[in-house]
């Protein structure tokens, strides 16, 4: 300090030659009771087969590879509030169902009653029987050059309000070439085939949760609720496509359960992923009231509707030509091995001279044999 002037300068150096952060695998000490909870999935159906699936939650770690931990040897009953009891048969693999449609009284309330093989007892809450109204139409419209399929429905009694849909898709598709020949790998020879592999069908079940609500509207109408979008040029619509839609009516608790389930995905960890999800259901363990149980059981009847959409309704150029090279494979042992056994080609037809077959017009196996991508057994409902 000199007179009244002063300047104070501080310099500071901190040094450390060590690494400053680390990320380590972490398995938090979970309460031991918090694994292996019962999962109940299904619907008490008064118009079709009632099917209840029982499984168990699995721990997250330790290289879990099982797809399902089915809950077997349980006793599953449906009870109403008038002392009627219906027992479901054990169909194996954690599935409990009845072959015949249950004769349920729509004025009664229903619940599920489960005894598991470990001696625990579970009940779902009593729910009212909610019949699903008829599906008015399953329609489609072109959207971004693809096809958006939607459902319209309404309840003239204004009593449904909350809807859920499931669907399964089936489509017919054709291989680019039709053949009556096949390669016999055991004898290294081309022989006639007696099955057709030109026309096939394929089915997919769609696993997204589809919900609709008319709660905010003055009448109970669902207008063009989107079901599935088919990409432009998709092979699903290359010949004939069919969708079977199943409509459920939900009560408000069931709707909220499904809204929460819809946002429950396996995606975690990025800042964009959803926050933790408590999917509260309506099933309780009476043996141990603190035990978590996953699932919501509603009751009512479901409505199904199937529609077909033909390729001839699609805009021109829907079907892209397939990339199918045509070659002629000479009839000699080395060529047959080279092209048919190892080369991914399939014979389509013979090329002949006066002496007989001298080779085979061939193409890639996927251009010839549609059973690579589907089945050649026509579904019973197919026209």
């Amino acid at each position: 300090m000199r007179n009244h002037f002063y300047y104070k300068i501080m310099l500071c150096w901190v040094s450390a030659l060590v690494f400053a952060h680390c990320k380590t695998p972490y398995d938090p000490p979970l309460k031991s009771t918090q694994t292996n909870f019962l999962v109940v999935e299904g619907f008490i159906d008064g118009a079709a087969t009632t099917k209840i699936k029982l499984s168990r939650t699995r721990i997250l770690y330790a290289g879990d590879t099982a797809n399902r931990h089915s809950e077997i040897n349980a006793n599953v009953l449906i009870e109403d509030d008038h002392q009627n009891i219906y027992s479901l048969a054990d169909a194996g693999d954690g599935i409990y169902s009845n072959a015949d449609t249950l004769k349920l009284n729509p004025a009664y309330q229903y619940r599920l009653h489960i005894f598991t093989s470990n001696g625990k007892e579970y009940f779902s809450d009593f729910v009212s029987y909610k019949p699903a109204p008829l599906i008015d139409t399953i329609g489609w419209k072109l959207k971004n050059n693809g096809v958006q399929i939607y459902v319209n429905t309404h309840d003239p009694n204004e009593a449904t309000m909350y809807y859920r849909w499931e669907f399964s898709e089936t489509w017919e598709f054709h291989s680019a070439y039709n053949t009556s020949l096949k390669y016999d790998v055991d004898n290294n020879a081309v022989i006639p085939r007696n099955d057709q592999v030109h026309i096939c069908w394929r089915s997919d079940n769609f696993h997204s949760v589809l919900l609709g609500s008319s709660a905010k509207l003055s009448s109970d109408v669902i207008d063009q609720a989107p079901l599935v979008y088919i990409e432009p040029h998709s092979r699903k619509l290359s010949v004939l496509y069919s969708i079977l839609v199943k409509q459920y009516a939900l009560d408000v608790n069931g709707y909220n359960f499904w809204v929460a389930m819809k946002s429950n995905t396996e995606q975690v960890g990025s800042i964009f992923d959803p926050q933790p999800n408590q999917t509260n259901g309506n099933i309780h363990c009476t043996t141990d009231t603190s035990e978590k149980v996953v699932g919501y059981i509603g009751a009512g009847n479901t409505i199904e509707k199937r529609v077909f959409i033909n390729n001839n309704l699609m805009p021109a150029g829907w079907n892209f030509p397939e990339d199918c090279l045509i070659i002629t494979v000479p009839l000699n042992k080395d060529s047959l091995i080279y092209y048919f056994r190892d080369g991914g080609f399939s014979p389509i037809s013979e090329t002949r001279s006066q002496t007989g077959a001298i080779g085979y017009v061939s193409s890639f196996v996927q251009c010839v044999d549609c059973t690579l991508n589907g089945t050649n057994i026509k579904p019973a409902f197919w026209p």
Binding site: M10, P276, N277
Partner: protein, 541 residues
């Protein structure tokens, strides 16, 4: 890691203007570059700068200028970078009307932003940015009416401008569709008055009232929800557009403050107080990601202001002729309209966040003990606080009950918190310091199991905030050596040798889960998760 710090202070104009300026920075980027390859995608840096200038215009007028800038950026051996920035500036003009009456006029700007870059896949490369700006103008007046009354009153105005998210593509290959959340604007104005009344030399009371008016302003689209139904996306009826400056919704109300202090003796006193709170800005934390990300939301037609009231009581006693201070304080607080997220909520880039949150009722209480020895060869303090912060959502109309409608720990619930700071001067040149910190880990909701439902794998979570990240514990130790104490030298030098996080505990900065190849894996991230020796060399001119 290398840290540099420079502080300069001194007069600019003799007897009129003084300044203090400081800069701190880290050089860890350099270190990450020489580390083994597995760390070469990691980097972290921190800088800040402060400036204070005070200027005496004349005997009646003083002007103060304060500025602060800080920024930190880190990439943690992953493909995501985080950057946080703070900037504040304010200017104060203090005018003494007479020796019993003065006023302060303050104008200031606060800016906070964070940015997140995702580089994982060039096709999805994005930048997310979030910005909060606040502009404030305050006029405060203090008036010493007589030796019994000190009166204060004033008015304040605060303008909020929040850009709650903009999401943009990065690089030529990115197919990210740009999106931006509509900015929020609001103005909060308040008038306040208070009186501190010394009834006797032993007994004083203070009372105050503040009345605030908050207006949520356009330009903004506001969604309307069907009356009587939960605020869900499916219940959106339509949206109204309000042009710039148009008042969309106004909330107003008073806040009260009363306290009383009584001196039991020369060295002990008790204090009791009550105050109420109104808050128009809400914070939501996403604590499930590697770096906790916060979202702020202003009250709007769909989200009401947070209200609270608090009572507290304190007992203060000095021992050994005032060399040791001790105190015990207890408080209890009631909170209304505290926001928490719904199950499965999306907090980032949500155009209608009201559908993903609900309001809760809360309570918070605690007791805090302090023992402090300010002087002597051995000095320092010890504090211990036990506190809880609990909230509940038990309104079935809000869509869902959380934890069965029971109270649960809020994100800020950390029951135990203890700190010890001790300094011991061995000789004039040597002294040692020990610093110990402990607190309970913050609550977290963990995925505990996986199951199949409706054809897909789903996660089962624990109850909301049922678990906690590991407790935080850190011990720092240092030895200070002063240079010689000759008066006639240009500089005074000192050395500090120490160890940060002496016990090398890997304290958790975050615990998070990520989906990897179809499995869910838990990770703990520690920052400074080892003992870090440091050397400081101080030069004073």
């Amino acid at each position: 890691m290398l840290t540099g710090k420079v502080t300069v202070e001194g007069p600019l104009i003799k007897d009129k203007t003084t300044f203090v300026a400081g800069v701190r920075t880290t050089y860890s980027n350099w270190l990450f570059n020489i580390l083994p390859k597995e760390y070469n995608k990691s980097n972290a840096s921190f800088q800040d700068a402060t400036l204070h200038i005070s200027h005496k215009v004349n005997n009646k007028n003083n002007i103060y200028l304060n500025g602060y800038i800080s920024g930190d950026k880190f990439t943690l051996n992953s493909d995501t970078s985080y950057q946080y920035q703070n900037k504040n500036a304010n200017i104060k003009w203090k005018h003494n009307f007479n020796n019993r009456f003065y006023g302060v006029l303050t104008a200031g700007i606060d800016h906070y932003d964070y940015k997140v870059w995702g580089y994982g896949n060039p096709v999805n490369a994005y930048r997310l940015s979030y910005i909060i700006n606040q502009y404030k103008l305050n006029a405060d007046v203090s008036y010493f009416l007589n030796n019994k009354h000190k009166i204060a009153f004033g008015l304040s105005s605060l303008y909020y401008n929040i850009h709650s998210g903009s999401f943009t593509p990065v690089g030529k290959e990115s197919l990210v569709i740009p999106d931006a959340i509509e900015a929020e604007h609001a103005i909060e104005s308040a008038l306040y008055a208070s009186d501190q009344y010394n009834i006797t030399s032993k007994f004083s009371v203070e009372g105050g009232i503040r009345f605030s008016v908050f207006s949520y302003l356009g330009p903004k689209h506001i969604f309307n929800y069907a009356p009587g139904l939960p605020k869900q996306e499916s219940n959106i009826l339509n949206a109204d557009f309000y042009p710039a400056g148009k008042i969309i919704k106004t909330y107003n109300g008073p806040e009260y403050r009363v306290s009383a202090r009584y001196f039991l003796s020369d060295n002990s006193s008790i204090k009791a107080s009550f105050n109420s709170l109104r808050q128009y800005i809400h914070m939501l934390s996403n604590t499930t990601a590697i770096s906790p990300t916060d979202i702020w939301k202003l009250s709007d037609p769909n989200i009401r202001p947070q209200l609270g009231s608090q009572v507290s009581f304190g007992l203060y006693k000095n021992l050994k002729s005032n060399t040791i201070e001790t105190s015990v304080e207890v408080y209890y607080k009631w909170i209304k309209n505290y926001l928490d997220y719904k199950s499965g909520a999306i907090l980032i880039m949500n155009h209608h966040i009201e559908t993903d949150v609900f309001t809760t009722k809360g309570k918070a209480y605690g007791v805090e003990f302090l023992v402090k020895k300010a002087t002597g060869k051995l000095n320092g303090w010890i504090t211990y606080t036990y506190s809880r912060s609990l909230i509940r959502q038990n309104d079935p109309l809000a869509g869902e009950l959380i934890n069965g409608g029971n109270y649960y720990a809020s994100n800020f619930d950390q029951p135990h918190n203890a700190t010890m700071i001790g300094n011991y001067r061995i000789t004039h040149r040597y002294s040692i310091s020990l610093n110990v910190t402990y607190n309970t880990g913050r609550p977290i909701t963990l995925p505990i199991a996986v199951y199949d439902y409706a054809g897909s794998a789903r996660l089962l979570y624990s109850y909301r905030n049922e678990y906690r990240i590991p407790d935080y514990f850190r011990t720092d130790f240092s030895l200070n050596i002063d240079g010689n104490h000759k008066v006639k030298q240009l500089t005074h030098n000192s050395w500090t040798f120490g160890v940060y996080n002496w016990t090398a505990r890997k304290n958790a900065y975050s615990v998070y889960y990520i989906s990897q190849n179809g499995f869910i894996r838990g990770y703990k991230l520690s920052i400074f998760g080892t003992a870090i020796p440091f050397i400081t060399y101080n030069i004073r001119f």
